[in-house]
Amino acid sequence: MTKTIIPFGPQHPVLPEPVHLQLTLQDEVITEAIPAFGYVHRGLEKLAEIRDFQQMIYVVERICGICSMIHAMCYCQGLEEMMGIDVPPRARFLRVIWSELHRIHSHLLWMGLFADSFGFESLFMQCWKIREKILDIDEATTGNRVVISVNVIGGVRKDLNAEQIHWILSELKDVEKETLRLETTIMTDYTVKKRTVGKGVLTRQQAYELGLVGPVLRASGIAQDSRMLGYAAFNEIDFAPVVETDGDCYARCKVRFREIFQSIDLIRQAIAKMPDGELAVKVKGRPEGEVVSRVEQPRGEVFYYIKANGKKNLERVRVRTPTFANVPALLAMLPGMWLSDVPVIVLSIDPCISCTER
């Protein structure tokens, strides 16, 4: 039989990031997919040797421009645990607010890219139009649209005043309303369902054994959400992981879509419960020891391993990002699918290659 070998990426318009998939097709049906990485690999874990542990916050923040704040939060939490620092309550609630804002903007961004992957351009535009509101909140409160740099070890750098909180709540109301309008399209549209339902199915068993994380895992029916660990202020807020059971691209889409509303709700709760107080405590001494830190990113659980030996520079920083854990799922999902499903399936794990390769 004839076969087609397509180099999918590193430069490819449906994958904004450089990753390569060597696809072997037969009449557009995939028989083999081999990924290749290394186009974004910078080796920034190694930078810990030449940047001190405070500067590393800004380096790990730039692992990924979409969930930058959460990377920094995870890193700071790890060091705080290692150094025995108690973060002030207000700072913990502020971290919840900003991290959930990041989740909303990330999910909206993903929703747009996902729509674009199956050629639904107006849906893409709509999602990104809504997303701009979140970016405005970010910029107004922290000074930057994307890489917001609010975390420091021991707390946060910026505060929200009453006026800003009021504005955020009203903006969120708009976002909620606008997003809700897209519900029928994302959840029920014939063409959307045709392109997503039954594509890239992962059973509960498969998803668990592949070590998947985040919405991909939750779409396969497993209620695993690292926020349940109760870091930051999540132990003081009510929520339950969003779970779907179909395990296909459609289910992943539904999980993320529902999580947008969950996040809006979490922000409202956090704002309601946020106490007054300091933003950060002063850091004394230098870190020493070994620590593991986990938080939930929009894409799933991010895992930090930090080892320090009392010097200014850390001994080892190891980051296992959610996409890194989800990549094996691609290898399980792609064979047997169609070429036109490749973008849909690849985007359904919400890949962040710069996270994966660091």
């Binding site: 990031e17 974004v40 910078r42 930078l47 800004y58 730039r62 990104w128 701009e132 710069s354």
Partner: protein, 148 residues
């Protein structure tokens, strides 16, 4: 006469190829944000072609590393003249915060000639628009140099 129309058309229809050359996604999503309703680059006739063969302006984000430097060069070579390279963000200009990392070659200009530098981390959409507009000036010069 035709020359004049051509120059005008060139200024009004710059097609863009965006290549993420190892960026953290910050600049990439800002580039994409430029295409979306709030910034709407298509007002200037800009289309994100995603294909070097059709592009006029090459938007590069991110640090160059050892694996993708050849990709960058290949793509640059595939763009037909006249063409303009716009490097975005701290990483694309110098390597930014990752300059000293072991797998980083540096800014885009280490591999291909860059015409416009857009600073920022990430570069704001307004800055990207400014950068493209600045690139167009260069584009006009290159085009007239090509004809003469």
């Amino acid at each position: 006469m035709f020359e004049k129309i051509l120059t005008k058309a060139r200024m009004l229809s710059p097609w863009v190829l965006h290549f993420d050359c190892g960026s953290c996604n910050g600049c990439d999503i800002e580039v994409l944000a430029c295409l979306t309703p709030v910034y709407d680059l298509e007002r200037f006739g800009i289309i994100n072609t995603g294909n070097p063969m059709h592009a006029d302006i090459f938007l590069v984000t991110g640090t160059v590393n050892h694996r993708n430097k050849q990709v960058l060069r290949n793509l640059y070579d595939q763009i037909p003249e006249p063409k303009v390279v716009v490097a975005l963000g701290a990483c694309g200009l110098t390597g930014g915060v990752f300059r000293e990392a072991y797998n980083v070659v540096g800014g885009v200009d280490k591999v291909i000639p860059v015409d416009v530098y857009v600073p920022g981390c990430p570069a704001k959409p307004e800055a990207i628009i400014d950068g493209v507009v600045l690139g167009l000036e260069k584009f006009r010069q290159k085009a007239s140099a090509m004809h003469s």
